[in-house]
């Protein structure tokens, strides 16, 4: 479960996140959407303890990220929007390193690396240096890093970027499977069709504020006159446009 209470963060005069409240139940996939600069990545960085909030509290699996950082991160996997990796390591070595950071025993780490590299279709490249990988391959490897310690919470910032159609489909299947197994997934994305397909609930962030939250039907209900047929994209655009009108 992910709990966010009254979260606020500013950068000088710019408001990054403003009074964000969210509760994401265990076993669900939450789609966090918004325009560029809405505050999605800031929220994620606050969730991972990479930024310190001006106000509010975040609990991951019941652990407060500010006070129980290690316990919170031990059960959380994270994929940043720009996942830089060590160019001169091989995938095997990188996964062993990350597994070690999470306290996995060597034998377990080796087993997990083998499983994940196969799952991410990187088994054939396990001995190659990461510097030779394509963007999509690096993205898949970064996802493997996020999963190596079998986290119960996954925080993913734009995980679809750079993936080929097969990779994107595999990721959708994987995320659904993880959610079915009880994992909580927090997903920030601009791929609204993908989000519509895999997410149970959505949050729309605009200028640091959560302007809509709920399942697809509840978002559709906010779209005047378009009714049940509206896609997530339509609902998102109209909700954001309406918000702009209010300003």
């Amino acid at each position: 479960m992910i709990e966010i209470e009254s979260l606020g963060k500013s950068f000088g005069r710019n408001v990054g996140v403003d009074g964000l409240d969210l509760t994401i139940p265990r076993g669900s996939v939450f789609g966090f959407i918004g325009r560029n600069g809405a505050g999605k990545t800031t929220t994620i960085r606050l969730m991972m303890g990479l930024l310190v909030p001006d106000q509010g509290r975040i609990r991951l699996g019941g652990y407060d990220i500010a006070r129980q950082r290690e316990q919170a991160l031990a059960i959380t996997g994270y994929l940043p929007d720009q996942p830089y990796l060590y160019d001169k390591l091989t995938p095997d070595e990188l996964l062993a390193f990350v597994a070690g950071l999470h306290g996995l025993r060597r034998r377990h780490a080796v087993q997990r690396a083998a499983v994940l590299l196969t799952e991410m279709a990187l088994a054939a490249q396990r001995g190659d240096l990461i510097e030779t990988f394509s963007h999509g391959m690096k993205q898949r490897l970064a996802l493997a890093c996020a999963l190596v310690h079998e986290p119960s919470i996954l925080v993913l910032d734009e995980p679809m970027v750079g993936l080929d159609p097969q990779g994107a489909r595999d990721l959708r299947t994987l995320l659904r499977r993880l959610a079915a197994g009880g994992s909580t997934i927090f997903l920030s994305t601009h791929s609204l069709a993908v989000a519509e397909e895999i997410c149970d609930r959505f949050g729309i962030l605009d200028q640091g504020r959560l302007i809509a939250e709920g399942d697809l039907d509840s978002l559709r209900a906010r779209v005047a006159g378009r009714g049940a047929g509206a896609s997530l994209e339509t609902a998102f655009l109209e909700i954001v446009a309406a918000r702009e009108g209010e300003w």
């Binding site: 091989t90 070595e93 999470h102 240096l129």
Partner: protein, 565 residues
């Protein structure tokens, strides 16, 4: 819409680079003015230095002008060697490893035009410094030889032609290498080769023992030394044509000038044409070969298992970071190739001490040995501080973009800091101890000096490494700058200044007690209680200073690491 049939001009192809440069210069006008002032001062200093040295040799009777001309020849050969090496490395980067080349190759630009644009960039990147610093040097030669007013422009024209010719040769060499090896392997090989060459050159120069010239006391000894450096000039080398031309210009041999200048300029033009023609045919193939290099990691078997087994007794976080950092270090020659150069400098350092009159018992020789002993501590600390800028200060920057992996894991930053500290501290301490204690043994220093130097260096280097990690983490850029760029940046200079300030403070605190101990040892007289107490206070103050800096920098370093993610 019909696409234009006119290929883009060279100016258009070069415009992005020009714009970026102009913007970078315009962004910090004060820094630019300060930089320009610094450059002008350096050039004036270079001019004064060359004029003094050349003036001295020129005045050595009949042999003087011959010596200065020989020096000019050596300078041209050295500059040519440096330019050829740097243009080959620059060509590899600019032609075969740059994203911009991919963009150009994917656009309908004729290959010859792409070649010309990349050629200009390679020429500027590899030669601008040589050209700028040649101006005061050539000016000095002209003034010492009282040359005609046309000397400087004609000499610079000849030098530009030589640089163009060498750049074309460098591009051809780089292309040939890429067609045989993947570009990454080629660049790494060249980096190692260049470090080896420079290291070997420095060693060879030092082992020639130029200090013997002081004893010779006459120009003949120096002439023999100078003339002995390098083989005689070959008539087929462009460097020979250039020095012949400059000799003709300096000797007012006007009839020989047009022919020699013509030979150089036409050769340069032919080399550019050869480079353009070849790359006009093979650039796509060579580019394709350069991209196909697939780097393999270390053998998954023995070496990795051995490393893991060796590190197993260490605490887990320390072993993890140590193994990772060691692998990254060993697989990137850009990081370790400079160690070859440093090893050569270390060998020269030890050789310098062995060249002192160790066996002599004259008062002067004893004084010289004592001075060398005293200088040993600051020198070893200075070398360690310089190494720390390159290898410790850059550690957080190397980690900055991948630090999300660490920050999103439940590992304590104290552990990360300890791992980085150990990885930086132990090798530096080993180097500094080998230099200071090793040379003290050569100088037959008393055992107490070994202990004092050992303890001082252990504490001083802890402070320097701790400070390096703190400042490195505070100023770590996240834009993918290379290690060399980070180590040469203003923050690195700030760190070097702070480290040297610390070394100076510690040396100032320990100089008097060391001198007293050395004097007492030479006189074989025990020190009084008062003197012993004063000495103990000085050493305690130095130790307290080092410990204080270590602890304060550790705190700041951990805070800065927290911000790094």
């Amino acid at each position: 819409m019909q696409a234009s049939t006119h290929p883009p001009s060279l100016g258009l192809l070069l415009s992005p680079r020009l714009r970026v440069t102009r913007r970078a210069l315009g962004a910090h006008p004060r820094r630019m003015v300060a930089g320009l002032a610094g450059l002008v001062a350096t050039l004036l200093g270079t001019l004064a230095l060359f004029e003094n040295v050349l003036g001295y040799f020129h005045a050595l009777g009949e042999i003087g002008p011959l010596l200065t001309l020989r020096l000019l020849e050596l300078l041209i050969v050295t500059l040519a060697g440096v330019t050829l090496l740097s243009s080959t490395i620059a060509a590899l980067s600019i032609f075969y490893l740059s994203d911009e080349t991919a963009l150009l190759l994917a656009s309908p630009v004729p290959l010859r035009r792409i070649h010309h644009a990349r050629f200009v960039e390679t020429l500027v990147a590899s030669s601008w410094m040589v050209l700028v610093f040649s101006v005061p040097a050539l000016l000095a030669w002209g003034r010492v030889h009282d040359a005609h007013g046309a000397f400087l422009p004609l000499a610079l024209l000849a030098l530009v032609a030589l640089l163009v010719l060498l750049t074309a040769t460098g591009i051809l060499l780089a292309s040939a290498i890429v067609l045989v090896l993947p570009a990454r392997g080629a660049r790494d090989g060249l980096l190692i080769a260049s470090a080896l060459l420079i290291g070997a050159g420095l060693l060879a120069l030092r082992l020639a023992r130029p200090e013997r010239l002081e004893g010779a006391g006459d120009a003949g000894g120096f002439a023999a030394f100078l003339l002995g450096l390098g083989a005689g000039p070959s008539p087929w080398l462009p460097t020979t044509w250039t020095s012949d031309l400059m000799r003709a210009l300096l000797g007012a041999d006007a009839p020989a000038v047009p022919l020699r200048l013509g030979l150089l300029v036409t050769s340069a033009a032919l080399a550019v044409e050869a480079s353009a023609s070849l790359l006009g045919r093979v650039l796509p193939l060579a580019w394709s070969r350069a991209q196909s290099g697939r780097g393999k990691g270390g053998p998954p078997g023995r070496a990795n298992h051995l490393l893991d087994a060796l590190l197993r007794p260490l605490p887990r976080p320390l072993a993890l970071f140590f193994a990772k950092d060691l692998r990254l270090f060993l697989r990137d020659p850009a990081q370790w190739s400079q160690l070859l150069l440093l090893a050569a400098l270390g060998a020269i350092y030890v050789f310098n001490f062995s060249a002192l009159p160790i066996a002599e018992t004259t008062a002067v020789a004893v004084l010289l040995r004592d001075l060398a002993q005293l200088a040993n501590l600051p020198l070893a600390a200075f070398v360690a501080a310089a190494l720390a800028v390159r290898f410790v200060f850059t550690m957080p920057a190397l980690e900055a973009r991948t630090f999300w992996l660490v920050r999103s894991s439940p590992i304590m930053l104290e552990h990360v800091w300890r791992a980085k500290f150990t990885a930086g501290y132990l090798p530096l301490l080993a180097v500094a101890l080998a230099m200071a204690v090793g040379t003290n043994v050569l100088l037959d220093a008393p055992a107490s000096t070994h202990i004092i130097y050992g303890v001082t260096l252990a504490l001083l280097l802890a402070a320097i490494v701790s400070l390096g990690l703190a400042m490195g983490a505070t100023h770590a850029p996240r834009d993918g700058r290379s290690v060399a760029q980070v180590a040469a940046g203003p923050a690195a200079m700030g760190y070097m200044t702070a480290s040297l300030g610390l070394v100076a403070a510690v040396v100032a605190l320990e100089l008097w007690p060391l001198t007293r101990l050395l004097a007492a040892s030479r006189a074989r007289e025990p020190l009084g209680t008062g003197a012993m107490l004063a000495i103990a206070v000085c050493f305690a103050a130095a130790a307290a200073l080092c410990c204080g800096v270590t602890v304060a920098a550790r705190r700041g370093g951990i805070r800065a690491l927290a911000r790094l993610g």
